[in-house]
Symmetry: none
Subunit: 204 residues, 4 copies
């Protein structure tokens, strides 16, 4: 995998990963073949293996990259002085982020993330990445909750660690709404999610 120009190599890897993401969003893990990815990336099937050892390596890299974004949001939240308000307003961004961005609309992204989670249930390599990422996000969340508790904004009786686990799982759960009830209003659901989180965390 040595290359004369490691920068170009990494760039090309990035392009292929982006192409792979587009395929995954369109046809899912199951429905995406290496041939599809090659066509989308505009390279030959043999050439794919110059950049990745296997299809799994692509999925692995994609998962890793996909989760990096999630971290950023949480890191941002940390800086706020009012923990609860910050978390709530962070969710507001989701209300408007239903339009397409580079990675597709919110529902598509949700589906792919769910697919990644399911994949992790069978595939140890993916599971490892998911867990490492979960640990990072959770530690940010725990710290965030503890700060809120110190400031009297969050119920001090809650175990920050368990509460963080639950909050994360609640966020995951939101991703199934688009599947179960495709016609329900996302803005309304997020509004209620804000209420739910607020009531759960608020001191009595």
């Amino acid at each position: 995998m040595r290359t004369l120009d490691p920068v170009k190599h990494a760039e090309k890897r990035g392009e292929i990963l982006l192409a792979a993401w587009r395929c995954l969003a369109k046809t899912g893990f199951r429905g995406t073949s290496t041939a599809d990815i090659c066509k989308e990336a505009g390279i030959s099937p043999g050439h794919l293996y110059h950049y990745f050892d296997s299809k799994e390596a692509i999925v692995t890299a994609l998962t890793a990259r996909g989760l990096e974004g999630a971290e950023a949001g949480f890191t941002e939240m940390m800086k706020s002085s009012n923990a609860l308000a910050a978390m709530i307003s962070e969710l507001d961004r989701h209300k408007t982020r239903h339009k397409t961005d580079k990675h597709g609309d919110y529902r598509t992204i949700s589906l792919v993330v769910l697919e990644m989670l399911v994949e992790a249930g069978r595939n140890p390599a993916i599971a490892k990445i998911i867990r490492a990422n979960t640990r990072k996000i959770k530690s940010l969340l725990v710290e965030f909750l503890k700060t809120g508790q110190e400031r009297g904004q969050i119920d001090p009786k809650l175990d920050a660690d368990v509460a963080a686990t639950l909050l994360l799982s609640v966020m995951d759960g939101m991703k199934t709404i688009g599947i179960r009830e495709p016609k329900s209003d996302p803005a309304r659901n997020i509004e209620y999610l804000q209420i739910l989180i607020s009531r759960f965390l608020s001191p009595p």
Copy 2:
């Protein structure tokens, strides 16, 4: 002495579905071939098609059957006089249901249900079943919430429909914990889930 016995036919179908479920639990939707199901069911590859029209018909039947169970629990809840308490105690059953039953342990079942949801994201036939089931469960839940509101046990300001959607999604979300944090204590998580639901629904 005409047999024709539709009972035996249905029984065999059931056996095959159970075998298919075992395969799914072991290797997932993606990883299960018709050959695997046949081997597990102890029948020949051709014979499978005596009972099901296609692999998708098996998956469809399996999904339908798998979701029937979920309904029962909700129907039971309805009978209680204290809505919130009923929902909470229903969750208590989950704390102990982590041991193996006919369908495998709780985590395996969760994973398979998640796979069904993901499958529904790409496969309209499965989506239809999921949505029909969601509608049923949700209407039970809505009725349940409204009864609670009438009795003053649940916050009357909450829109029962949106709250039901959210509660369902929270339940789905719980299924990812086993993937993200396999070592976290299920009993503790459910305890906090009870707090979360209780605080969300209680009147102020």
Copy 3:
């Protein structure tokens, strides 16, 4: 294959053959499965083998039965005193026989007969039947031609045997018109066929 009532046995065989013919007409040799025949005949797959040893036995019996009809027409012709006129008027019947009868319309029958001929090209059992039938028809035709020659109605210089072979092949050839030119007018084609035969056989 012994049966208590050989008459009923033969009757049932006939019914099955008729059902098989209907399948063949609809979906062709290639496209007809034993299951199709059983469904059409209203019997179970196992029962088929009570009446026929194999699928090939059905095809064989069907071919034999199908060709019996062709003989009748030629036998009728023989009785006429004017050979050429008889042959020509026999063809007139074809002009009107394009409507459906028990065996389907003319084009469908033609296609099935062509399929039988093609089948004979690979399948010795069918070939044997076809050849036996050809011999019978041809001997009728040869006799017919010779009678015509004696009566001065047919060119005496023609070798009756070779001429008969050619006439038979010309009749076979007519069966491809429906495939090559489905929109051409059958009545017009038969009219020209009459001219062709008349000119070929007439004394100079």
Copy 4:
């Protein structure tokens, strides 16, 4: 040094088609599997699909290619100044062409062409090709007949279009002789075919 070489690709396609033709000649449309073709062509089962989209695409290409040859003969005829004589002498070539050439002996070719016609009776894609080819050949034949009529070599009362249809069908009919009467003398039959055509077309 980009290859991409479409020439080699086309060559390989040709090789596979030739192998497919050999299989068809040996075991017929019905009896030829993609595995047979691959074995005959010396390639792996997967590789076949690098050159053809499906088995039907092979059959289609084969049919198209197989019929191209027929055109050439007719085109040649057109150049002659004596229409009838040209057609007759063209048939003479068939007398000697009974030995094997690249595509097998005359009888095998006839059988495969008959199979193509039968296939066309059920398979619209093949039918389309057959009909396009029929139109081409027929228009050549019609022009040929009209030229002959202008020169007084062919009966001017004959409708060139209907006569062409009939002549084509007569040619098709010749292909069944090898099946019905494998022992009959091809040279003798063609001799009589020449008489038949000559008498049919000659002016009174």
